[in-house]
């Protein structure tokens, strides 16, 4: 029982990271109907820029909450700019070219960031500086909660809350929902569609950056290809929740994290990667719009 609780806790922690990345996929899909395959690489750049910022400021030697916030903020700004640049360079010129051409440029950007990453950062793994000294916060029975797990969970929840606020309560959020609902109509109503799309990329990339930093805290080995698998899994999480749905991505991410951890804990770790795709195929066959997606009717 205690073991199960511990596994659940680990799963929720890992799942909240998936959820942060999945949000970027789902928001971009919402406004652009594009699967942004370069999103996993933005998460990698988030972790990498956190590493360099922390090193430049010498934060690794003295763990502190202030340092963590600083690194988190810097990395989110860097990735926000990166997201806007990617959209401007690789997707905007293809806005009228159908849906497959941007998919290929997305793959191109992903390849570019991986290889440029290997060139600039080096292909060998780096060790993320210890921004928080790991210690146990409390223990109930055999279940131990570390301050790192707590930080990951609280940060992720705060960011998701902030996002929910932006999407539901601000002018920008309303514009974003309008573009997702019907872009041409939104443009007719005076919504600056291009700027909204750009802003969506900035938001999504900032969340991916945060995910990168949080992963660096709990799992310090980072390298230029680290975005590949988590990126794809987060995408599965977005589909699980219903692609295009913001709460769906959050729940989908948490669920996927918990399921993966349980499979690793109770079955076998070699099937850990497969389970995500089995879930993907099952959900697509039985409920293609995901847990929270609205069903679409096809008009002739």
């Amino acid at each position: 029982m205690d073991n199960l609780l511990q596994q659940l806790l680990n799963g929720v922690t890992w799942g909240s990271i998936y959820a942060l990345i999945a949000l970027g996929y789902t928001m971009v899909y919402g406004v652009l109907r594009l699967i942004n395959f370069a999103h996993g690489e933005v998460y990698m750049i988030g972790a990498m820029s956190g590493f360099y910022v922390a090193r430049a400021l010498g934060l690794g030697s003295e763990p502190s909450v202030g340092g963590l916030v600083l690194v988190l903020g810097a990395s989110m700004v860097i990735c926000g700019l990166l997201g806007a640049t990617i959209e401007r360079v690789a997707y905007r010129p293809l806005r009228s070219a159908g849906r497959l051409a941007p998919l290929i440029t997305a793959i191109g950007v992903s390849l570019f960031l991986q290889n440029a990453g290997q060139l600039v950062f080096g292909a060998d793994p780096k060790f993320f500086p210890q921004l928080l000294r790991s210690r146990e916060v409390f223990r109930a029975g055999q279940v131990a909660v570390s301050n790192i797990q707590l930080t990951v969970l609280v940060t992720a929840l705060l960011l998701m809350g902030a996002l929910e606020f932006i999407v539901q309560r601000t002018r920008f959020g309303r514009a974003m929902r309008a573009v997702a609902y019907d872009a041409p109509a939104a443009a007719l109503m005076g919504v600056p569609v291009d700027r909204v799309i750009s802003g969506t990329f900035v938001l999504g990339s900032m969340l991916a950056a945060a995910a990168g930093i949080l992963v660096g805290l709990s799992n310090p080995k980072i390298e230029p290809l680290m975005g590949l698998m988590p990126g794809l899994k987060a995408f599965v999480a977005a589909v699980l929740g219903g692609i295009g749905s913001v709460p769906g991505a959050m729940i989908g991410g948490l669920l996927l994290g918990v399921i993966e951890t349980l499979v690793t804990g109770y079955l076998s770790s070699t099937y850990r990667d497969a389970i995500a795709f089995v879930i993907l195929v099952l959900i697509l066959l039985y409920r293609p719009t995901g847990l929270f997606g609205a069903p679409q009717t096809e008009k002739v």
Partner: protein
């Protein structure tokens, strides 16, 4: 039969013979490997073009079927093939007679898996279908990774432990390009025959095609089945020309690469897929002089080409009227 119809066949055989005898004289092993990889990429790209470009169903899990073909054919060769080849005498003629077996075996296994994936998955449309094929491809890869009889995470070598003297590798470029030519011909005949219009009708408008009496589900499954068969053949060629395979070669990254071939070549153009597959396979090698920068430049080229020519190199045109009967209507 007119003499004119035999001319291309004779020319093709002559070219293959030339490739077989002359290539080893003028090219070192490195170039032969690259040329073989290009031939294999062509087989895979042309087969994917049938599904993605002509039937309008978007699959991004093609590498999974290549993996099945590669592993099935390699297992065939390692467990039975070495014995068969040994008893055939291991001469040049024996090799020519033997190699169709693993290739067809790989193709059939991949086609069977293609059927299993296609029947439920093709109910889905657009992005959802694409995502499902991506998932299916990864499931296949991870499943193979967990089968110890084909090496699991160690990879799988064609060297057979019971017949160590028998070389199972496919050493002739003529074989690879012969198979590539047959693949192009088969798919072109399928597409540009009268019945081939059904594929394009489904691509243009599924509902309209159905209302005209086209069994759209059957057409889609057929396209998927044929494409996965040839993907399996491509995998089998890969296994037998490299001599060692690992599931890492068949990840979704490989599937994406194949999708890039068909989109960049032009969705709906077989010759476009051939050109894109050849160019993009050769490009990282041609750029080798740039050292570490080559893959960065390759990615930039991919993005730039797509932005400059979003419809792909050839759009829906063909460079030559392959597979069309004389007088058959041209599609444009």
């Amino acid at each position: 039969m007119k003499a004119g119809r035999w001319l291309p066949l004779a020319g093709a055989l002559l070219a293959l013979a030339g490739l077989h005898w002359l290539a080893p004289l003028f090219l070192n092993a490195y170039y032969v490997t690259i040329l073989a990889r290009i031939g294999i990429a062509i087989v895979a790209a042309v087969s994917l073009q049938l599904v993605n470009g002509f039937t309008g169903q978007f699959s991004i899990g093609h590498a999974g079927f290549m993996a099945l073909g590669a592993y099935a054919s390699a297992a065939f060769s390692v467990y039975w093939g070495a014995g068969i080849l040994d008893s055939l005498g291991d001469g040049p003629l024996a090799r020519v007679l033997y190699f169709p077996f693993p290739l067809v075996c790989g193709g059939l296994v991949a086609a069977a898996a293609g059927l299993v994936v296609a029947v439920p998955a093709l109910r889905l449309r657009g992005d959802y279908l694409a995502i499902a094929t991506l998932g299916a491809g990864e499931i296949i890869r991870i499943a193979i990774l967990n089968v110890d009889a084909v090496g699991g995470a160690r990879g799988f070598s064609l060297a057979s432990s019971s017949y160590p003297a028998v070389d199972l590798r496919f050493d002739s470029l003529a074989g690879v390009y012969g198979v590539a030519a047959l693949t192009i011909l088969a798919i072109a005949r399928l597409l540009y025959s009268g019945g081939g219009l059904a594929f394009r009708a489904v691509r243009e408008d599924e509902t309209a095609a159905e209302s005209l009496g086209i069994a759209t589900t059957r057409v889609k499954v057929e396209a998927f089945l044929v494409a996965s068969f040839f993907a399996g053949v491509a995998g089998a060629l890969f296994a037998h020309s490299e001599g060692y395979i690992h599931t890492n070669s068949f990840s979704f990254v490989r599937s994406f690469e194949l999708v890039a071939f068909v989109v960049l070549g032009g969705l709906g153009s077989l010759s476009g897929a051939v050109i894109a597959a050849a160019t993009l396979t050769a490009a990282p090698e041609l750029l080798r002089g740039l050292g570490e920068w080559r893959m960065v430049l390759y990615a930039m080229l991919l993005i730039a080409t797509m932005i400059l020519r979003p419809q792909g190199l050839l759009g829906q045109r063909e460079l030559w009227p392959i597979g069309r009967k004389h007088g058959a209507p041209r599609s444009s």
